[in-house]
């Protein structure tokens, strides 16, 4: 009986989402290879090889995640969440920084950004709480969620400071809470409160931002204001994307990245490099892949066997969607420049492994949607 169930379980493995994931990672490695081409004959930086290694590590992490029944996560959700918060606090004390932000944790043999993994723990913990009661959320449920799951990590992340991750966490929190459902009467009250509170809160946050963060917002509003700074990035990204035209300049024919006109070419702005070389048609294909991925995530959420699974799946899907939306919105020049990578394509080990674990969890939840035991 157990054998049969196990066999049926593997039949439920979501090969489709894995295929989408690997396609996007492949596109990522190829684009990193092109973006980091040296302008003149010299050594090709090995970013693309590292990324391939990370994809391999990611696959191992994915398999690992798939084989632990996500129901088990329910038991470790809260302790993990508290440990996660502790690590975030530790980062503030012992973390290593770039541009004045402490985001990296060095464990001697490896350094990584704990925030990336914290997001997963955050989603699981929040999902556990939101699936612990029946019916729509009451004021009391909401207040608890805000004080237990939104404010502590938000403060810790903003302290690093990591404006992008902090905002994403809040947006994610709001979307998950909305997915869970709030009583109508209370929802209306909350919207009104937000309309009043957010501008005040926003201006306080803006006042406490580091100068480069403020510049990003200013530059987004008026990109002509400083052509060599952040506005320059936006302008160069616009040129890079636009110059791809319908069919693109061709693979390895892009100029903006290798000639260093486009900053962050293999990380945050990799989408522009892809758009330059593959044009409107290429980007449309990539958009399709992402769209299918998000739809698969939502479908997984709909089909999950329990509320816990539903909440995790929708949270993870939204998380990927927010990353995608902010990153592409930024490079397309319709969102402020926030240092957010494009999932699966941007260079970066921590994010990539976290994203593989995300997909692993989605596969995990989908596999066990039929309530089979083993």
């Amino acid at each position: 009986m157990i054998q049969t169930n196990k066999k049926r379980l593997y039949e439920q493995f979501d090969w489709f989402i894995l295929l989408l994931l690997l396609l996007l990672c492949g596109i990522g490695i190829l684009t990193i290879y092109s973006a980091t081409r040296p302008a003149i004959e010299s050594v090709h930086p090995n970013f693309y090889i590292k990324q391939a290694v990370w994809v391999g590590c990611g696959l191992i992490a994915l398999i690992f995640v798939v084989f632990i029944d996500y129901s088990f996560l329910r038991t470790i959700a809260y302790p993990s969440y508290i440990i996660g918060l502790a690590i975030l606090l530790f980062v503030l004390v012992a973390g290593q920084g770039k541009m004045g932000a402490r985001r990296w944790l060095n464990l001697g043999f490896i350094s990584f950004q704990p925030t990336e993994f914290f997001r997963l723990i955050f989603i699981v913990a929040l999902a556990k709480y939101l699936s612990s009661f029946k019916g729509l959320m009451t004021m009391r449920n909401f207040a608890f969620a805000v004080f237990a799951f939104a404010i502590p990590p938000f403060i810790l992340i903003m302290k690093q400071p990591d404006l992008g991750s902090g905002l994403i966490l809040i947006i994610l929190f709001v979307m998950i809470v909305l997915a869970r459902g709030i009583e109508k009467k209370f929802l209306i009250q909350m919207v009104i409160t937000c309309i009043i509170v957010v501008p005040i809160f926003g201006s306080i946050v803006f006042g406490h931002l580091k100068e480069y963060q403020r510049n990003r917002i200013i530059a987004f509003i008026d990109s002509e204001a400083d052509p060599q700074g952040i506005g320059y990035q936006i302008e160069q990204s616009r040129i890079t994307i636009g110059s791809g035209m319908v069919t693109g300049k061709g693979y390895l024919k892009g100029t903006q990245g290798p000639l260093r006109f486009l900053p962050e070419k293999h990380t945050d702005f990799i989408f522009s490099v892809f758009a330059e070389e593959w044009g409107f048609l290429g980007v449309t294909v990539v958009f399709m892949l992402y769209f299918l991925l998000f739809m698969r995530g939502i479908d997984t959420s709909l089909k999950a066997k329990d509320d816990f699974g539903k909440m995790i799946a929708i949270g993870l899907t939204f998380m990927l969607f927010i990353y995608f939306t902010i990153n592409t919105g930024m490079v397309l020049g319709i969102m402020p420049v926030v240092g957010v990578p494009l999932p699966f394509i941007s260079y970066g080990g921590t994010t990539l492994i976290a994203n593989f674990m995300t997909i692993g969890l989605l596969i995990n939840i989908r596999m066990r949607r039929l309530g089979l035991l083993y």
Binding site: A179, T240, G242, L259, F261
Partner: protein
């Protein structure tokens, strides 16, 4: 969990995701399809830069093909704007630039993608030191450029002129086919300006691919510059050197013309400037010094300044007098040194008078009373007419900048300029080249050339072998008139009584006329005058008198007497110009004329005449 709510929420989420994808696709369509070609161009403009390769300017030669101005390489030290961690202190020591100036230069330059030029105009010896330490300063580059090499330093500075960066209107000129950029050096003065388009050539282009920091990655296309065409001037360097040496620091001008075709053989204006000071952007200190200098070194006196001609104008009186029948065999004037008219007294330069004076003695000895009477009989209208026939009162048309026309006064002129009628006394002083009458040294030379060529006037040119040598004017004055005047001018030098006898040499038959133009009214002892009020010295001459090959004017500002100050310069210039020719002709013949000449030199006397 409320299943119904969740499903509704999911549906809404799908719409929302769909909406985001639609918006982004529209934005993508906007960037890549609607604005694609424009942004594609922008990406090419990012990486492709057209660098202008300056064309070497044409070389300027004298009439004997001796180079006057050549080209030479120089170096400039620049910094690529990538380099942020620059050791300003070390760099300032290496380049010997003030630290704050250097830091400001680098700070300003970092906003641009082009290399920041730190120091310009360096030559081999300077560059060796910098090259040795270049590796200490990443991003420091040394570039080669071409500049002018003024072989003879400030010789004929006003003829050669100088170069400079173009002004905005020159860049905006519709005729400028992008050959002139803001860094192109163009002629600003002299023949460098006049023949700029000939000399300049066509700039080449280096089309290069650069990265975001302006670093050149590869050359996509190279169009060689086309060197400017060389220029052979009509100037004779020997005559020019002789002339400039003879001025010995005095201010003045000299113009020598070939009377047979209008070639300018020599053109001097002193004091002058060093053209080399201008080429790499003039040092503000030198510029303000040149501008505030009381001796006006930037003024081309040969054609920008007009002065009273003094007695050299008596040649025109003589031609007019003979041609009009005023001076004839029976015409003579008794000179007692003074002529009275109304309450005024008009003196002769010789206080004791010349006694009875007729032609040609009147011209030889430059008797003022003789010419008062000639002027009186001719009347101002005829004096004005003849002056204008010889090109006075109008520009000669040599296209160097700022030529003055001078003034030939007349009744109409006076009414217009001074709203007054003409007085006889004014006719008298005009006849001796004083009063309102002013002429430029180049007009004086042109006048001498017209007398030398019996009234023919050619368009003046600074180029050798002018294409159009038809006279632009040929006066219908009798050859006999010219013969008489020329003979009298020969006597000015040859006759022991002549005012320029001091420069007599049996080698060359020189015909001339001295002039001493008053700066202040009233004749006083020249030697006691302060420099600023001292008379101007003039001399016009042509030689050889029979078949003139050179006609010239010499003008020395506050130089005193024409005969003693100006005439010796003319002699040296004539010798310098004619001697190499004479040597060619008589290469085989023994030279025995030099002994005779020495004897004559010893006989020079300090004749106080004009």
């Amino acid at each position: 969990m409320n299943k119904h709510y969740f499903e509704r929420f999911i549906k809404f989420s799908i719409y929302f995701i769909g909406l985001i994808f639609s918006l982004y696709t529209i934005r993508l369509y906007y960037l890549q399809i609607l604005h694609g070609s424009e942004l594609n161009l922008a990406s090419n403009m990012n990486r492709v830069k057209v660098l202008s390769v300056p064309a070497p300017r044409g070389i300027i030669y004298d009439r004997n093909k001796i180079a006057l101005v050549k080209n030479k390489s120089y170096f400039s030290v620049s910094l690529l704007p990538v380099s942020t961690n620059i050791d300003i202190k070390g760099l300032s020591e290496l380049l010997s630039i003030d630290q704050t100036v250097l830091a400001a230069k680098i700070k300003n330059g970092l906003n641009f993608l082009n290399p920041i030029i730190l120091k310009d105009g360096l030559f081999f010896e300077d560059i060796a030191k910098i090259e040795a330490k270049r590796s200490d300063f990443p991003g420091l580059i040394i570039e080669t450029n071409i500049t002018r090499d003024y072989i003879h330093d400030n010789l004929m500075a006003h003829v050669i002129g100088y170069l400079g960066k173009p002004i905005q209107s020159q860049l905006d000129d519709p005729l400028n086919d992008n050959n002139i950029t803001k860094d192109t050096l163009i002629g600003k003065w002299g023949v460098e300006r006049l023949y700029n388009s000939t000399l300049m050539g066509t700039a080449g282009k280096r089309i290069v691919e650069v990265d975001a920091f302006g670093k050149v990655l590869r050359v996509l296309k190279f169009e060689l510059p086309i060197k400017g065409r060389d220029l052979i001037l009509s100037i004779d360097i020997n005559a020019q050197i002789a002339a400039e040496n003879d001025f010995k620091g005095r201010s003045g001008a000299l113009v020598a013309i070939n009377p047979n075709n209008g070639e300018i053989l020599s053109l001097v204006s002193l004091p002058s400037f060093r053209p080399a000071d201008f080429t790499l952007g003039i040092n503000p200190k030198i510029w303000s010094k040149l501008n505030s200098d009381k001796s006006f070194p930037l003024l081309n006196r040969a054609l920008q300044s007009a002065f009273p001609p003094g007695s050299i104008f008596k040649t025109i009186d003589s031609i007019a007098g003979i041609e009009e029948g005023v001076i004839n065999s029976s015409f003579s004037v008794f000179c007692n040194g003074e002529r009275h008219l109304g309450n005024h007294s008009y003196g002769c330069w010789r206080k004791g008078g010349h006694g009875t004076v007729a032609f040609p003695r009147g011209l030889e000895e430059s008797c003022d009373l003789f010419y008062y009477e000639v002027g009186n009989r001719l009347g101002i209208d005829r004096i004005e007419k003849y002056a204008k026939l010889f090109g006075l009162g109008e520009k000669t048309g040599l296209q160097l900048s700022g030529e003055s026309a001078g003034i030939v006064p007349g009744k109409q002129w006076k009414r217009k300029a001074l709203h007054d009628s003409w007085y006889l006394g004014e006719t008298l002083i005009t006849a001796i080249g004083q009063g309102y009458l002013t002429i430029t040294p180049i007009q004086a030379a042109n006048m001498a050339a017209m007398i030398a060529s019996n009234g023919k006037s050619y368009p003046l040119t600074l180029l050798k072998g002018p294409e159009n040598i038809k006279p632009k004017r040929d006066l219908s004055i009798h050859a006999e008139t010219f013969r008489k005047v020329k003979e009298a001018m020969l006597e000015v030098v040859h006759s022991p009584r002549g005012t320029a006898h001091s420069i007599y040499t049996p080698d060359i038959a020189i015909a001339g006329k001295t002039g001493t133009a008053q700066v202040v009214k009233g004749r006083t002892d020249t030697n006691k005058q302060a420099r600023e009020t001292k008379d101007h010295a003039w001399f016009i001459a042509f030689a050889p008198a029979e078949t003139p090959e050179i006609a010239l004017s010499v003008f020395i500002e506050h130089g005193g007497h024409g005969g003693s100050a100006a005439a010796p310069i003319a002699l040296d210039v004539i010798k310098a110009y004619l001697k190499p020719k004479a040597d060619e002709k008589q290469e085989a013949a023994p030279k025995n004329a030099s002994d005779l000449k020495d004897q004559q030199d010893n006989k020079e006397d300090e004749d106080d005449s004009d």
